[in-house]
Symmetry: C2
Subunit: 334 residues, 2 copies
């Protein structure tokens, strides 16, 4: 830029004003001269230097447990669009909860070292909050998650939260299944799963309706088909499967078919996070659709609010998912 200033015959500060500052109070002639010089020299700002001087990085951090899963890649994509529209840049940090207790702390610090101006943190459980909260003092943060406990996250200064209420959604879905006559359930969870809203809601729904037959499977989706097949062949097989997401749903589906049962005649399946993947199955998977875009939009809005610095009241949003009854659910056949 110093070169540009020289070439245009003006001071550095003038060039800076023209190129990146407020446009006020610079005569058109000078402007054009500077612009022309910049063009000719192929000048590009150095954002690192710029943000060092401005003392704001223009970075927004995103903490997620995975980016391969459709749910998170979709979230990342949408958030990225919205963040970019605000003239900021998204940097994501995948934090693997399985790799030690303080992996999350390290991940956060990496982002903090990059001086992020704001942060969106996916919270698997509201109870993880204490791990993050102390490290995020002074960083405008939006917490994002499906744990219904997040709804009571109010009262934190400079932090906002969004909850996709998967608890209610799942509970409603399971009750629907009970209404259809199902009495033996199986919950298909991921490997090393921690108890989340989906499982809790399933358990609560069954308990409240006096249904006591629930088997829980914890597997990577690759293992699910054979485990489900074995289960279906041995003794009192479940008639209803509640699955973590479409991947696990399809995997369970495969196991059920392999055991010689058909959906929805013998067995019903519900996915707790369904998308086009489940929609294209045959029969198509019933499930709970999460309004991801809506949630991302709200997250971006809250973040903007948080980053504006204006001390507004802490806000906690709840978004209701939608139950999609497609073809994989039906009344139990005697």
């Amino acid at each position: 830029m110093i070169d540009v200033a020289e070439a245009a015959g003006v001071a550095r500060s003038t060039a800076s004003y023209v190129l990146n500052g407020a446009d006020e109070s610079i005569p058109e002639v000078t402007r054009q001269r500077v612009l022309k010089a910049a063009e000719e020299l192929g000048y590009r700002v150095n954002r690192i230097a710029q943000h060092m001087a401005r003392r704001r990085s223009g970075l927004v951090g995103l903490i997620i447990p995975s980016i391969r899963e459709p749910f998170f890649s979709s979230l990342t994509a949408t958030l990225n669009e919205l963040i970019q529209d605000q003239g900021l840049r998204l940097v994501f940090q995948v934090v693997d909860f399985e790799k030690g207790r303080d992996a999350s702390a390290l991940a956060l610090q990496e982002l903090i070292e990059w001086q992020v101006d704001g942060m969106v943190v996916h919270l698997e459980h509201a109870s993880d909050l204490p791990k993050f909260q102390p490290l995020l003092q002074g960083t405008p943060t939006v917490y994002f998650g499906i744990d219904s406990a997040m709804r009571e996250l109010g009262g934190l200064p400079n932090s906002y939260s969004i909850c996709i209420d998967l608890y209610s959604g799942t509970r409603y879905a399971v009750e629907k299944l009970i209404d259809m006559g199902h009495r033996r359930f199986c919950f298909v969870d991921r490997m090393f799963a921690r108890n989340d809203s989906r499982r809790e809601a399933t358990i609560d729904a069954l308990r409240s309706r006096g249904v006591h037959s629930l088997v829980t499977l914890e597997s990577d989706h690759e293992e699910v088909p054979q485990r489900v097949e074995a289960m279906m062949k041995s003794g009192e097989a479940p008639t209803a499967f509640v699955c973590l997401n479409d991947i696990h749903g399809l995997a369970a589906f495969r196991g059920i078919r392999n055991a010689g049962f058909s959906v929805p005649e013998h067995v019903s399946i519900v996915s707790c996070d369904t998308s086009w993947i489940g929609a294209y199955a045959d029969p198509s998977l019933s499930g709970i659709a999460l309004p991801l875009r809506e949630a991302a939009v709200e997250a971006a809005n809250l973040l903007k609010l948080a980053m504006s610095g204006e001390e507004t009241e802490t806000r906690s949003l709840t978004i209701e998912p939608q139950l999609m009854l497609r073809q994989s659910t039906g009344p139990v056949q005697c």
Copy 2:
């Protein structure tokens, strides 16, 4: 850091040495004092300042057309792991080719403004190279793509390329279908598709074997089922579908079923980019599996090489995909 130095009673430079520099020649006592002070003050490097002084950002840019699609989110995830292992940080930039001609140039410049030390660029077509090449002078770059023309990308200084040879893979798959007796084909492409290896390979395979019946569909996957259904119901329906990926494959599948045909008895389907999604369909989708992790590993290796600064010869890698014959393909029934 200046605080840390003061607290430890040493000079700033000493603190700097201990915290981030080479560990040589600093007495253990001093080291510990500095480390303790840093610990107590909760010191974190400011990477922006650090990289400004070092004149290297520690950033690697990734240019991709989407992050929502499984192929790219998976690529991003793997690349991110590998890049992070090298002590670098990945920043991605989604560039939507549909939004104007020079969107790609702008996207690149954004990353360049961030002073990325290296770049991984997904090239949809080798012919897009001229758009990027001039802007990437001086930035170690690895080009990544499925266009077979990329294999002849040699001769560029400081740039490397990796090609997943989808042309060969697709051509082989289509020839297999011809061997099975298929004579009427449909290629299911995305909306606003540009001609890519998959389509070219399909056309070439058919032509070389004297098969002249090919219909091409360009649609978002949401539209595919009804369009395929309509096609199946009218006149001479295709007996073989070659689909862009599993999403389009499943969508076509749905249309075929809706029209009252079954797979693979009446119709065969092949996906040009298959994954667990196709594997869990019923019948499971045959297709070409791209060794994404392998490709990402090679990309990371090449990038390391490129960024090492050592002037090695330009390298161009080709990776062969694998044909997975599952259940959606079979001989044509008369």
